[in-house]
Symmetry: C2
Subunit: 824 residues, 2 copies
């Protein structure tokens, strides 16, 4: 919650256009349009077994909470139309996810009623020493006489429900930044051929400035601002840094006392604009080429016609509709044994709850916690840059998906609503749900007289969060054997560094030169997820099962081998809360076992936390100066913790404001508490929770221009059943074929030669009831006739969607370019 | 080459049915059928720029080589119909791949003629001390008066062209094994309810025995044989071990002197069959349940009907045909800038040669070298089991692919021929080639007034090698940005261990119990590939680019931060031949840079060796007793070596015979030779070669029954361009769409609010030539009308294919069950 996608807040996180500030505070909101139901392919109405108790507040719930706060808490002195941070106002409201312990009865014990419903409100509130952001809980809902508003403290291990807001006067900051730019317009004109354009911040010939804040422990900021060009057609701002940097003393809470100090250009630090100007007048002043936009930042090539591009590529179709059941109202999905609820939050986007497989509990919760990008460099901008993207809102910035491209044409699309500034905003079609058949099989075997092949068709829940320059495609993928995968793929524009031609250092110390006056800058993406595994129930143990070399003596091996160099398994139980890294040589299996449930063979039911695609790194930097204590979860790959109602998340967006005194300090969660619930005297109930990271060490190269590519940026973790069932459960669900030689041969190894008995034939015939000549025996449904595929299924017609410039002032619509294709 | 798929050889590698031996030696061969050209979708005839100089011998070339050897080398005393290993005969012939240095002129310098063509012959040859397998080179081809046959030594760093063949009399071994089984038939009947069936080795009620050899340094073997049941319908033999093990003293070269010694059952070792029998007569004898086949080994479930299974899954179609160009004769492929030749070998399957991207050299050669599976366990079978699967032939065991399942219905299928025992064998449709559009995009970005999406369509070359119980799906994947991926996915049956109920040890020391009387046994798959990278030419350097934490002081950072905890890049050049492991925390980029070619920005053109999917482990066991020196490449993840004509491969199939004195010892290749070709006095020319491993630490669990699943067994390495081009080259090739708001807005960050200028509109219109109202602007071809899809494209009709039991004696056809669907 409390996400600051709007430009006022963005400034302080260095993603801001200099000259636009404060828009949503002064623009009247219009009501959004009605969400579009893009899918009506389910003929039957499907009902989830229970309510989605994690569902986002409805518009009317949100309105009632806002109204309640206004009316019943007049002492807060709230305004509906704040002019600055010195006003008190409701920033936003959303569902306060119920405590897990309060849901158990309803979900798993046939409890009659769902847990109480509460809202979480984020309120901008001024105290004696200035503005704060504060969290409150409001409930129960619906609002009645019994409803109350309480400080929301119990989920923040700082013990506080508030964070000091260093930003007091957005309009003044806007003016300050613009004045700075105008004061050096002679310099920028001379060196960059451009000045700021107060009237049009998107003027491709104008200049912008993005600031990078350094938080000062005693309060306030030091800012380094760098000039940028807006980019002409492709939103390539972060590829267009301009190599002039200005330092701003922003330690005072009074913007009028801020001052511009040093300038930095071409590797040289000037104490003031005046010094910079004087140096520039010297005929020997050393210039470096400017970074100019051009076709090189275009994300599309409409002209090139290499052989083959005249034909459309293969495409996936689903002529008979989806094979999952979907309760759109409760956002409940059922697919070949998997069942789960979908919900969203402004900060974190999509989360899944109560994931079961074949009727057994697998996870209570699965969802993103925080997405960090931490840069390094030797210039004042890249040198200290980092983002914690829930601050901007991974949910709020999940825009419309492009049908047939982001997801197959046949996907189901879900709308998202959120409630901010007393309005309900919605983004249509920003989550999709679809099955896909992989290009490879799930399983196969060729025998001497038969071959069997099972298709790998999987289910994906997808959203894409575009936070400024970067696009994160976030997938939750389900496979027929009970495997879940969490995958993040990055695309969009990198945040690049200005390339200084006479830089005395090696360019390759922080990245590579990637254009005339542009260098990449290395950065770490570390993206944290919570997986509250309840493997066959809440009592679980985390075990590291290590493959270890050993020299061993076996009785049967003598006398030839008195001892033998071999290997074996050694199990190490994780006995206290810990951060664990992926093992050397992948030499350990990380297993979460049920403490009390075993399969038919007496093995503990388990899930394995396994490598998926790409790398899953943790932060390279040790004890980052920039991050402080705001993101300590980034320091190891996988964390095992006690699950607690008081620790529902590893991070909070407001950590971005106070990194050295965060409202949630992860080190206080991962504090070595006992995980041995079976030990005598242990008060721990055995319910553990996993936090894990995906991401990438990203050293962009020329191929990242214009955009990072997703086939190489993907990073995933898989949760793989490990003795969870008695046998591979995908056999019951999968579609495939067995090819059987006519006749009476049983199956030996392929290529062998034999005269087998008649048993196989009899057995096959018994099973398939087919004629004696049966050759291809299918399991699961097959296509049985040709089909006329409408164009819409091959290439969804964007022409059917309204194209209008609705987004500018209509924040209720969460206006983005993707809105171009919303249905009329 | 020299692969021993046929059962005679298989015995000694423990994959053998006890009672079938020697078939191909005594069965008259018939000529194979004509290969089927499954694809005729390319209307235009496409010609490769050059000959495929690595192509397998044609049938007539092979025949002429065989004839030449017979006629001109009568002193070898060869027979066409060998009765045992004491006869001399030609085992097989295939192409001797030309030396790389001999191809350079033809391939890269417009040399007029291809290199000389030579054959490699494997000949079973008896010397004074017994039978050997020996390699010869025969050429040049075509055979003329100038053609010669020479011992082929120069590519084997043992200095030998031969390996001692420990197997002399197959028929006698067959008799011995069968006699052993019959001698204890009272015991097996009592404990297992079954005996060996001499007349029908596939009798599901009969017993088989598979041996595991231990090579004795002084010569010959010790064998431990375990009884198995054949399995009824699913070729599940390796899931049906029976828990009775017999030790055979096979040290003598004379099988009549072999003897059965110890027996092992239920954790107890008996000195003889007699002791075993005596113990069994004791009423207190401890039995353990038998491992009985049943529906639990079925690979198909024809009955289950969970919701959704009544509908066919999504399927990929390609209505307008492929977008690659394919010269079927030369096996040359051209696809969006990628060009390469395909060839095959009996031992190693598919290899690719002369891979170029956008006209520049990327790799000279890419192909599998060896596939190892190494087990561990505390019983006499699993305790020493290992396979080197080129011995059986990854190429020869690449059987027919199932259309629409193993590969899309629209794939091109290639046949493979190989020449063994003086016959040309072929496997139709055993390689496929297809494009596929991934379920996710290659790149995307949402801006304020536009969104752009580019499809990720990739090209795959696929084969599946089924070596007894296990199926390896081997993919070479090409992406539009120049990335290559090598991926292996394992399926088929695991090689499991008998579960002993009264085992005193922890079952979980080597695996898990997975059925009544069955346990999994841990094993390492390590699969070695060669990638002879020639990044923009042959002179390359291997660099480890490390991301390292650092505490650094920057002038612009003072006084607020006298120093800062950050990170930077440190480059370490690999200066001598070395084995390197994947780094901790993925903290290093492994880069192969051109030594002399740079991109437009002055950066060295490079390719990165990057993580793909899954894990890529090396062998857990240190200095494996079983392996000796036969597979030292398995001890590290990635190897960098000088490229030499004398070291074309990391392994040879015959290494399996003499692990302690292998014909190719990898440690002699990776022997710390200099890689600093720019150093003064260096004689090294700068052409390096990479060997790398994929695979898995496999600890199978209940979900591996009946078959291992490929979505979690996959392991891949990607070769990713790194500053290779000046910009992302996929932009020129990709298909996608840009959605643009009507009007005049330029693109800021999505969600921003601004009043931009008219530039974007003008620019877009200029590019697309579309009307002012253009909204969806496509790049690359799109579907533009509905299409009638024939059933064949959705579900290839297996009914069109002949079903006949051709395979038994017709080895020319390389008979396998998959042959069921070959076209009539």
């Amino acid at each position: 919650m409390i996400e600051f996608r709007s430009r006022s807040w963005v400034l302080l996180s260095s993603l801001l256009v200099l000259v636009l500030l404060g828009g949503f505070l002064i623009t009247p909101f219009k009501h959004g349009q009605t969400p579009v139901d893009y899918s009506s392919k389910h003929a039957d109405v499907y009902k989830s077994p229970r309510q989605n108790v994690w569902a986002e507040l409805t518009a009317s719930e949100a309105a009632s909470v806002n109204e309640y706060i206004f009316k019943e808490h007049a002492s807060l002195n709230l305004t509906k139309h704040p002019k600055s941070g010195r006003d008190n106002f409701i920033f936003g409201v959303e569902t306060l996810k119920p405590n897990k312990t309060d849901t158990i009865s309803y979900l798993y014990n046939d409890g009659p009623s769902p847990p109480e419903r509460w809202a979480k409100a984020a309120i901008a509130q001024n105290f004696d020493d200035g503005p704060y952001m504060a969290y409150y809980m409001v409930g129960p809902l619906p609002i009645t006489e019994d409803s109350v508003m309480l400080p929301l403290e119990y989920i923040f291990n700082s013990g506080r429900n508030y964070v000091k807001n260093p930003v007091q006067d957005w309009a003044a900051i806007q003016d300050f930044a613009l004045a700075m730019a105008e004061n050096v317009s002679d310099i920028t004109q001379e060196l960059l051929g451009a000045t700021a354009n107060r009237a049009d911040p998107s003027d491709p010939h104008g200049l912008l400035a993005f600031p990078r804040p350094s938080r000062i422990e005693t309060g306030g900021f030091t800012l380094w601002m760098q000039f940028y060009r807006p980019g002409m057609g492709s939103n390539a701002r972060t590829l267009l840094p301009q190599g002039i940097y200005a330092k701003v003393d922003a330690t005072s809470s009074d913007v009028t006392k801020w001052s511009v100090g040093q300038f930095y250009y071409n590797g040289v630090l000037y104490e003031s604009a005046g010094d910079f100007r004087t140096a520039l007048a010297d005929p020997n002043f050393e210039r470096t080429p400017a970074n100019i936009d051009g076709p090189w930042t275009d994300t599309e090539d409409f002209e090139s016609k290499p052989p083959g591009r005249e034909l459309p590529p293969p495409v996936s179709i689903q002529p008979y509709g989806p094979r999952y059941k979907f309760d759109r109202k409760e956002r409940f999905v059922s697919w070949f044994g998997f069942e789960f609820y979908i919900t969203t939050a402004q900060a974190t986007g999509v989360s899944l709850f109560d994931i079961r497989f074949k009727g057994e509990r697998v996870m209570y919760e699965l969802g993103l916690q925080e997405a960090m990008a931490h840069y390094a460099g030797d210039d004042p901008m890249q040198g200290g840059l980092e983002f914690l993207d829930t601050f901007f809102g991974m949910g709020k910035n999940a825009f419309e998906l492009v049908p047939g491209y982001d997801c197959p044409a046949y996907a189901d699309y879900l709308d998202v609503e959120f409630h901010q500034s007393q309005k309900t905003h919605f983004t249509p079609n920003s989550i999709c749900l679809f099955e896909y058949t992989a290009d490879y099989l799930l399983s196969r075997h060729t025998a001497q007289y038969s071959v069997t092949a099972s298709r790998n068709t999987f289910l994906t829940v997808r959203s894409v969060s575009t936070v400024g320059n970067y696009d994160y495609t976030i997938d939750y993928v389900f496979y027929m054997d009970g495997t879940l995968e969490v995958k993040v793929r990055a695309s969009g524009f990198i945040y690049a560094a200005f390339y200084t031609a006479n830089n005395t250092k090696s360019e390759d110390e922080y990245g590579h030169r990637i254009h005339d006056a542009l260098a990449s800058s290395m950065h770490d993406h570390v993206i944290n997820f919570k997986a509250d595994l309840d493997v066959a129930g809440p009592k679980n143990d985390m075990v590291r099962m290590a493959l270890e070399p050993i020299t061993q003596s076996y009785e049967w091996d003598k006398p030839e081998h008195p001892e033998r160099n071999t290997m074996h398994l050694v199990e190490y139980k994780v006995t206290e809360e810990a951060g664990i890294d992926w093992p050397k040589n992948s030499g350990e299996f990380y297993l979460v076992y049920s403490s009390d449930q075993k399969n038919a063979w007496g093995e503990r039911k388990g899930y394995r936390i396994a490598s998926g695609s790409g790398t899953r790194p943790h932060l390279t930097i040790l004890n980052s100066t920039t991050l402080g204590d705001s993101a300590r979860w980034a320091e190891h790959d996988i964390w095992v913790l006690q699950n607690k109602d008081t620790e529902p998340r590893s991070a909070d967006p407001l950590n971005y404001f106070t990194p050295h005194d965060p409202i949630i300090d992860f080190t206080k969660m991962a504090d070595h508490e006992n995980l041995e619930h079976n030990a005598s005297g242990s008060s721990y109930d055995g319910d553990l929770v996993i936090y894990f990271n995906v991401g990438a060490h990203h050293v962009p190269h020329s191929g990242d221009v214009p955009n990072t590519l997703m086939h190489t940026s993907g990073s995933s973790v898989k949760f793989v059943p490990h003795n969870f069932n008695d046998r591979d459960p995908s056999r019951e669900s999968v579609q495939g074929v067995r090819l059987q030689l006519k006749g009476s041969k049983s199956g030996g190894f392929a290529g062998e030669q034999s005269e087998p008995s008649g048993d196989l034939k009899n057995r096959m015939n018994r099973r398939t009831k087919g004629p004696d000549t049966t050759k291809a025996m299918y399991f699961g449904a097959t296509y049985d006739k040709g089909i006329k595929i409408p164009l819409e299924a091959l290439e969804p017609s964007m022409e059917e969607y309204v194209s209008e410039e609705h987004g500018v002032t209509d924040l209720s619509y969460n206006g983005s370019a993707a809105g171009v294709w919303h249905r009329e």
